[in-house]
Structures are given as C-alpha cells and as structure tokens.
Amino acid sequence: MTEAINPAAARRCAVHQQRPAYAVCMQCAKTLCQECATQWDGIWYCAACLSTRRSATAAKSRVGGWIAVIAASLVILYLCTRFMVWSGVLLAGLR
C-alpha cells in the first residue's frame, strides 16, 4: 500500500507551504525549502532528523569519552605505582 503523492504538495516545503521545495530530507522524505534543509556529511536533513542524528552521535562520542577517560586513568594509575617503586628503589640505592 503506497500513499499517493500529490505532485503539487511535493514541490512545496513541508514546514513553509508558501515556499518552493529545495531539497528532500533523506531520513523522513519531507520536502524542504532552502531555510529548512541542512546538509550534513553531504546529505540533506530536516531540523528534527538532524537533531536526532546529532544527539545519537553525541551519545556515541560520550560513551567513547567515558571509555577513554576510565581506561587512560587506569593505565596511568598502574604506571603511577610502578614509577613510585622505581623512583623509591633508585633513591634508596643512592643512599
């Protein structure tokens, strides 16, 4: 069952009916005027789809950030104990 597309409506912006369509959102297939369309990574999106996509990317980078900061802290803390022993032994040997 495919929805019939009104060709006249398809040539108008889904948000601003009086404006002519300029691009189509690649996610929700809405027709968009020049103001409503935003290109990201070479693909046109409407404001709602773009914000969903961006928040998903931000969440992904936040998870990456957490993993990076925890892993780096653990590695550095491990090195800390080794440096502590190494410096201590070196100093004790100098006495």
């Binding site: 936040r62 800390c80 104990t81 410096s87």
Partner: protein
Amino acid sequence: MIRAPLSTTSVLDESAAVVRATVTPWAALLLATSIPYRFMQIVFADRLIELGSNASQYGALLRTTADVTCAAFLLSLCGRAIYARACRLASESGAAPGREALRVPLMALAGYVFVASIAEAVTYLLFVTGLGIAFGAVLSGLAIGTMELNTEPGIRGPLRRLARYGGSSRLIASLALVFLCALVVALLNVATLVSVIVSLASTVGGWDAARWHVLLSIHNRRYVLMIIAGALLIIEPFWIAANVLLVRKSGSAETGDDLRVWFEELQRS
C-alpha cells in the same frame, strides 16, 4: 565573591575566607579522606629507608605497598573533589555550603581523576630529579582547580583546560612559592606543638617521658615522616581553595566578569 583583580595576594586572601567558610564539615572530610593516603606514603617511605640499598630485592613488598597507596590516593581524590566543589560554592555565595557540595558531577570527577593521576605519575617519575614534587604539586593544583569545568567525558578536554589555565605561569609559580614557605612554617608549627605537648605531659605523673622523648625526636625517622605528612594535611585545604579561586578568577578575568563585579561594588560603596 570574586572581588579583587587577579593577583597572588587576592587569591590568598579570598582562599583564607573560603577555607574559613568550609572548615566544617568539608575540610574535616578532606582530612579524613587524605589521612589514609598520607599514612600509606609514610609507610612506603619508611620501608624504603629501612630497606636502603637492598630495596631492589623487595620489589613485591614495595609494589604491594604502592598499590595500596594508589587505592588510598583514589579515596583522597574523592575527598578533594568534594572539597573543591565546597570551595567553589562558598566563593559564589560567601556562606558555608550545604549538602550540595557532595553532588560532584561524575564527568568532572572522572576528568579530575585522569589529570590528577597524570600529576601523580609525573611527581614519581621526576622525583629523583627534585623537580617532581614542585611540578606535580602545580599540576595537581591546576587539576583540582579546573575539575568542575569538565562537563564532557574525555581525555582531551581536561588536558586542554590544564594547558589553558597553566598559561598564567607567573601567578602559579608565586603561589607555589608561597605554599612552599607555608609548608615549612607548618612543619615547624607541628613539630613545636608536639614538643610542647610532650613537655607538658612529662609534668603529669605516670607518664613515661623519657620513652616519648626518644619516640618524638627528630632522630626518629617515622616521627619526621609523620610531621611532614601532618604539615601537608594542614596546608592542603588552603592549596585546594587557592587553586579553585585561581582558576575561577582567571576565567572571570578572561570574560570580563571580574571588572563587572568590581564596578558594581564601587558603585554600591
């Protein structure tokens, strides 16, 4: 409460006011979380001195002590984070902060643990050169000062902020110098206080004064190490408060907030 323009004296003046506002219970909490770490550092140093040139043969023992010290270090970082937040709240409101100080954002804490670990690693790595303590203290001070600016998890953000606020190097160096002098004064004060207590106690009957004089003399390395740890514990709240204020004042100097507050206060007076 960002009043005077950015300078060493203004940072020190305001940090004294902040420490006064946060002394109970936040400075006490800082002390309670720092004591295990300082104690483990004493144990480690004591073992090293005792082992001397044979220390390299006791690697497992020293590694175990270092691991426990590291765990105590993590606990002390939590205490420092809460105290730094309390200092920030006190500097904003001018009053003693409430339970709000306990709500340290996890992202800020994670960023702080990362940078403070780097500072600690640098301290131990450069310890033999003599520069390690100074360099590590400055880095850890900046780390606690910039803690609450970490709003996103990641490793680049905290390092970038450290580099940004480390730019006012003259101010940081002068603060470090002041606190070095404060450490010496605190050392002398703690040592004098202990000797006065021992002298007073020796007048009380049933007190084995001779034994305590031997235990609490500068010839006893454990006593000397404990005095150093005690002095560090005393100046730690001031050091944290000074760094929190330094970063806040540097930030407000960049945005012009300090001038706005300054003019408002001038108009009011």
